[in-house]
């Protein structure tokens, strides 16, 4: 507030005319209604996580107080805190799934993450202010079952898919650059400005790395597909296994980038 009060126009600047102020106000309004993106969704998630954590702490305090001194008043207080915490928990899952969806930006995941988020949204509205503790525990079990059976595999699949998508995107960008470099080399060789040696041998080294990257992508993908298999060990187990080839690919992506940089520098040196 103090900084706002002391804010003055810069030296030599003039106070904006009313038209500029109106334009500025309208622009601010337009910016505030811009599309909801991952950054905003992640901020929402952080805020909701904090809200849930606070309500969980209040719930724990109220529950402990009641267990130490089981009066009707303390039971009612514990019931209210349990209700609030459970509603916040469903809201947290809804916001978290939305953040994942916006980070993944994948058509294959959008509808599944959306329907999962809708389930939590609907379930949250099932909680009634007059619910007894027994009813609240029963409704909490519904959330728990949903989380373990449907949500958790989808979360881990999505997280793997995000990393998989990031790596595929980088590999494709590198392949595009490689093709551009090959075109430049072939043109210069045809014009007699460049010798095809050693580029022809380097091409095969580069193509080997690309093949290894694609192979790792396939391995990761086939592991990820096991996520929804009922015979799988655990979602986190499948997730960790799918990350092994993707982790190995990071070294290959770096190597490929260095090779391409070297090819570009060699073209420049030979010119």
């Amino acid at each position: 507030m103090e900084t706002l009060r002391s804010a003055k126009p810069p030296c030599g600047g003039s106070i904006p005319p009313p038209a500029s102020m109106i334009k500025h106000f309208l622009l601010s309004l337009l910016i505030s209604v811009k599309a909801f993106d991952f950054s905003q969704a992640y901020q929402d998630y952080q805020y909701t996580l904090e809200t849930y954590s606070n309500s969980f702490n209040y719930y724990q305090t109220a529950r402990d107080s009641y267990l130490k001194n089981p009066t009707l008043t303390l039971k009612e207080e514990a019931r209210k805190m349990t209700l609030e915490m459970l509603k916040n928990r469903d809201e947290l899952m809804r916001v978290y799934l939305t953040a994942i969806k916006l980070r993944a930006e994948a058509d294959v995941l959008n509808s599944r993450l959306d329907s999962e988020a809708i389930w939590y949204s609907n379930h949250k509205s099932n909680y009634q202010n007059g619910d007894t503790l027994t009813e609240l525990f029963s409704k909490s079990n519904e959330s728990e079952n949903r989380y373990k059976i449907d949500t958790l595999p989808l979360i881990y699949y999505s997280l793997s898919y995000i990393s998989y998508g990031d790596e595929v995107g980088l590999r494709k960008s590198q392949e595009e650059i490689y093709n551009n470099l090959k075109t430049i080399i072939n043109e210069k060789v045809s014009a007699g400005k460049l010798d095809i040696n050693p580029f022809n041998r380097w091409f095969s080294d580069i193509e080997n790395i690309v093949q290894n990257l694609k192979s790792n992508e396939s391995k990761a993908q086939s592991e990820m597909e096991k996520m929804f298999d009922e015979t799988r060990s655990s979602p986190i187990g499948v997730y960790n296994t799918s990350l092994i080839p993707l982790t190995n690919s990071v070294i290959l992506l770096t190597k490929l980038n260095n090779f391409l940089t070297e090819v570009s520098a060699s073209i420049r040196n030979q010119q």
Partner: protein, 114 residues
């Protein structure tokens, strides 16, 4: 000369007195004129200022021209574009977070019954 001026002033005064006396004519004139003035003022405030500017090219300092020329030649060199893109990719590879740690599932305690 003075008498002519005094006559003219008195004629103008008489005209305005008649004009203000007849309220129907007064409002019928003032309202359209007011609207026109309002439109002109709004036009000046919110109108496209580009139209008001003179199309006179601002002289550019020599050094800026040289920089622009260098940038153009850089953009024309495909190798420089490729190297820039490779640098960007290098940054993205370094920033890769395979485990997506910021998006790790929140820790939720489902054992809530008591």
């Amino acid at each position: 000369m003075k008498t002519k001026i005094n006559q003219l002033i008195s004629q103008i005064k008489a005209f305005f007195q008649k004009y203000y006396a007849n309220k129907k004519i007064f409002w019928a004139t003032v309202i359209p004129v007011g609207v026109i003035l309002l439109v002109i003022i709004l036009g000046l405030l919110f109108g496209n200022r580009k139209n008001n500017k003179l199309n006179i090219a601002t002289p550019t300092p020599q050094s800026q021209n040289q920089e622009a020329g260098q940038q153009n030649s850089q953009n024309l060199d495909p190798l420089i574009n490729i190297e820039n893109n490779l640098n960007k990719i290098k940054g993205k590879i370094n920033d890769l977070d395979i485990k997506q740690l910021p998006l790790a599932p929140p820790i939720i305690n489902y054992r809530i019954d008591f």
